[in-house]
Amino acid sequence: MSRLLEVNQLRVQIETQHGTVLAVRGVSFHLDEQETLAIVGESGSGKSISVKSIMGLLPKNGKIVEGSILLEGKDLVKYSERQMQSVRGSDISMIFQDPMTSLNPTMTIGKQIVEVLKEHRKDMSKAQMKERALELISLVGISNPEARFDQYPHQLSGGMRQRVVIAVALACDPRILIADEPTTALDVTIQAQILDLMRDLQKKIKTSIIIITHNLGVVANIADRVAVMYGGQLVETADVRDLFYETAHPYTKGLLASIPKASEKGSELTAIPGTPPDLMEPPKGCPFAARCTKTMEVCRQYPPEDMLCGENHHVRCWLLDERAKALRE
């Protein structure tokens, strides 16, 4: 598999009324061709800001202060807004949590798909565009595309709308599809349909997917590799099986322990005490030190380095240091 996207040492700051939020603090990850990477984390962990940086869609008060985002070797951080416009939608597409707010309520769904083609595929004739739009509508599993072409978003159910959003995102065969909590607003039976669709589409059109979610069930369902974010940093990155079965970081362990398992009814859930750090004044050492059950003095003082504990398995935790061997269990 060849490397498609590489994010290096990304730092993003957001200016607010109350001060500067260090939302992303030195994050590096990559995405290979045809792979699905899940980014997991709590609200405020910096996962959405990281992918919005890739899309060049940071809010006005947000700024990339350091790092590079290489799409097949070209650094998107250096791109002008104009250049980014040609990347968005054609090389990288994004789908959002709430399908209703990402569709234009006054435009038929057919027109919304054609709109993207008009922007990026100037070589296509009108008839070709319509044909392509119909093809996309049936590709995302909506029956009777001709009739649906002229319908408005409000005439569709939530699950159907999310399918339309996916059709719009796929219109120009993007290399990368970024999905920010694509199923969070949907019911569980519809969620299963959409996840199935995404997996199917990936096989058919060979895109790479970055999916942001907080649902570890969704991760287990769809991801090849997982990156766990906490306090603006990546704390653990691993292949999906390693992440679930060879979990190394105490935060990831805590997350997995705090969801009920079928077998353990009645026993108390292992909650992670405390709350995430304030990123206006991020802790000097490990961001998880204040909530970790195995905190050492070094954890509060120095940020842990990226350490390798298996093939493709990166962890930032002082417990993996040679000198902390005894504490590791």
Binding site: E42, S43, S157, G158, G159, M160, D187, V188, T189, I190, Q191, A192, Q193, L195, D196, H214, N215, L216, G217, V218, V219, A220, N221, V240, R241, F244, G254, L255, L256, A257, S258, I259, P260, A262, K265, E268, L269, T270, A271, I272, P273, T275, P276
Partner: protein
């Protein structure tokens, strides 16, 4: 649930209809009957729009039922209750809401938010009121110093603790938890669930726990009811419901939950439901699930199935169930 247990709350043929204009009626709750026993947790699950929240709100009389009765501890709860009886009832039943950002008045201090119920009932005044609030804050894992702060100074999980303290302030017996953890982060959800379980044990509380996160509902509930478009389709103790669901909708719903285990997840057979929820206003006759049911027969679109007891304590409304 054993038969000798006396129900704390009996819901009989409860209906709640909303008029939505042009002579159209939305039947949000269609004829639901169930008992809730003292000290148990009854989970209520279903997809958005199935009427589970409306059911909870109608039970606690936030909505006036269109038809049917709610009997609490032997007493019928309705509009004709005397002021004194109504006061007694409202002390026994409290509610915890989904959104800890919307359910706390941003202009009130936590002290007054928690004490509002006590003030309304005229119990605990002055120093005693303060003492009680501090005691409640400690019960839910906060401390005295939080009493004089405003809601915006708290995180989501802490706000939900304030909401729980408020519900406990009048010493209720029965609490309706309406999606109490859906707005919280995963690592905080477990904290709140543990707190609710601990309080239940210590104070012998009875819960109606409404949620769409099925694994959490299974974890906390003794029995679970599954709702679809305003009707109860299956009701059983939680082990039975998860291990041996009989209603096709329950089966599909359970098979759709993504399980946080990659090996299990890759080898699962899902029952995929075709389509999505039909428009609840248009539905009139037959089984409401017939349009999406993989086993639907002619009978299903004609006759509405009744709740039948499949085995002791396990009820389902499906024509296929004998």
């Amino acid at each position: 649930m054993s038969a000798d247990k006396k129900p704390l709350l009996e819901v009989k043929h409860l209906k709640k209809y909303f008029h939505v204009g042009k002579n159209q009626t939305l039947k949000a709750v269609r004829d639901i009957s169930l008992d809730i026993y003292k000290g148990e947790t009854l989970g209520l699950v279903g997809e958005s729009g199935c009427g589970k929240s409306t059911f909870g709100r109608t039970v606690i009389q936030l909505y006036e039922p269109t038809e049917g009765t709610v009997v609490y501890d032997g007493q019928v709860i309705n509009n004709s209750l005397s002021q004194a009886d109504r006061h007694r009832f409202t002390r026994k039943m409290q509610m915890i809401f989904q959104d800890p950002y919307a359910s706390l008045n941003p202009r009130m201090k936590v002290m007054d938010i928690i004490a509002e119920g006590m003030d309304a009932h005229g119990i605990f005044k002055g120093q005693e009121r303060k003492k009680k609030v501090i005691e409640l804050l400690e019960t839910v894992g906060l401390s005295e110093e939080h009493a004089n702060r405003f809601p915006h100074e708290f995180s989501g999980g802490q706000r939900q603790r304030v909401g729980i303290a408020r519900a406990l302030a009048v010493d209720p017996e029965f609490i309706i938890c309406d999606e109490p953890i859906s707005a919280l982060d995963v690592s905080i959800q477990a904290q709140v669930i543990n707190l609710l379980k601990e309080l239940q044990k210590r104070r012998n509380l009875t819960y109606l726990f409404i949620a769409h996160d099925l694994s959490m509902v299974k974890y906390i509930s003794d029995r679970i009811g599954v709702m679809y478009l305003g009707s109860m389709v299956e009701l059983a103790d939680s082990e039975t419901l998860f291990d041996d669901p009989v209603h096709p909708y329950t089966q599909a719903l359970l098979s759709a939950i993504p399980i946080p285990d990659p090996d299990v997840e890759k080898n699962r057979n899902r029952i995929m439901l075709e389509g999505s929820l039909p428009d609840p206003i248009r539905l009139t006759q037959g089984c409401l699930f017939a349009g999406r049911c993989p086993y639907a027969e002619e009978l299903c679109s004609k006759n509405t199935p009744e709740m039948k007891e499949v085995r002791p304590g396990h009820f389902a409304a499906c024509h296929r169930v004998q």
